[in-house]
Amino acid sequence: MMQDIIHQYLRPSKKFPHVWCPGCGDGIVLSAIVRAIHSLGKSKNETVLVSGIGCSSRAPVYVDFPALHGTHGRALAFATGIKMANPELTVVVITGDGDGLAIGGNHFIHACRRNIDITAVVFNNSIYGMTGGQYSPTMKVNDYGATAPYGNIERPFDVCDLASAAGANFVARATAYHAIMLEKFIKMGIAKKGLSIIDVITPCPTLYSFYNKAGKNIDMMESIRDRTITIQKAEQLSDAEKEDKIVVGIFANRDFPEYTGIYSDLMERAKRSVKDEELL
């Protein structure tokens, strides 16, 4: 069945179960990514997964694609090099909220600005899981974390607003609970020429839950389900009413020129500008 296609994509030499905690959404998001790649008919050889550091970034080790588990925050930078050097490849970046928006924030906005044909899936649990539950740049004000014992005093990024403003062609948000919607958005993102950002709200039932008394696996998942509203619904609500909501849907879907394509045109112009004998 299509839905459990991931079994055909697991690395034959890798041991399971995976590293994530019980009730973590990362496995759900990974299988949605694999279903999206599969349904687009992309070949395993020519689809490269690139990740940074953190819980989410462990994902590429489990699935049988060429994959680069990079350094903290640099996934989009490694991915830019891969895509530029071989534009034929489909490049999917797996990053987290800390990895992609704090230490990798600069690469995030510049990848959006360049609008290079990469799809980045942000596993957004608003906390640094691997290092022990510190507050991340997407944590809500007054939530708690290991480094926010009095409640978080920093305003969070809205990943989708940031990506849209920075110029990405496709920007959408889904949640780990809405896995079918998520798969659809990832599929649209990969199919889209240009940079695609898919923000995925995913539960951390270990550390976020511990610091915020958010209950067990199912409590967290139900909370995500119950707080989710569509963009259309959100438009009818006041800011105060939207405070605690997760707004899902497509925030940007447009066709700015894509970077590697523009560069290929530039190469043609550069080649025409020189005579053959001038080349070494």
Binding site: H7, P17, G23, G27, Y177, A179, I218
Partner: protein
């Protein structure tokens, strides 16, 4: 094409007992077994909505007997 027999298998050595499949199955096909792992109560009630598979973070739900066989060695 003849409709295939419904099949659902939970690979216990991969399952971490998050119970998403039990909780979110709209037709109560899956329940918590005596050993604390999910088990299939009544496959005939299943409408193949695949929500349990999509929501299984462990890739531990399998829908084809052949895949079960393949993966059982791991």
């Amino acid at each position: 094409m003849a409709k295939k027999t419904k099949y659902l298998y939970i690979k216990k050595n991969w399952c971490k007992q998050c119970m998403f499949c039990v909780e979110f199955c709209p037709r109560d096909v899956i329940e918590v077994g005596e050993d604390g792992y999910p088990r299939i109560v009544d496959i005939t009630k299943c409408r193949e909505c695949t929500l349990c598979i999509s929501l299984c973070p462990e890739f531990a739900i399998i829908t084809e007997p052949e895949v079960t066989e393949q993966l059982e060695v791991r």
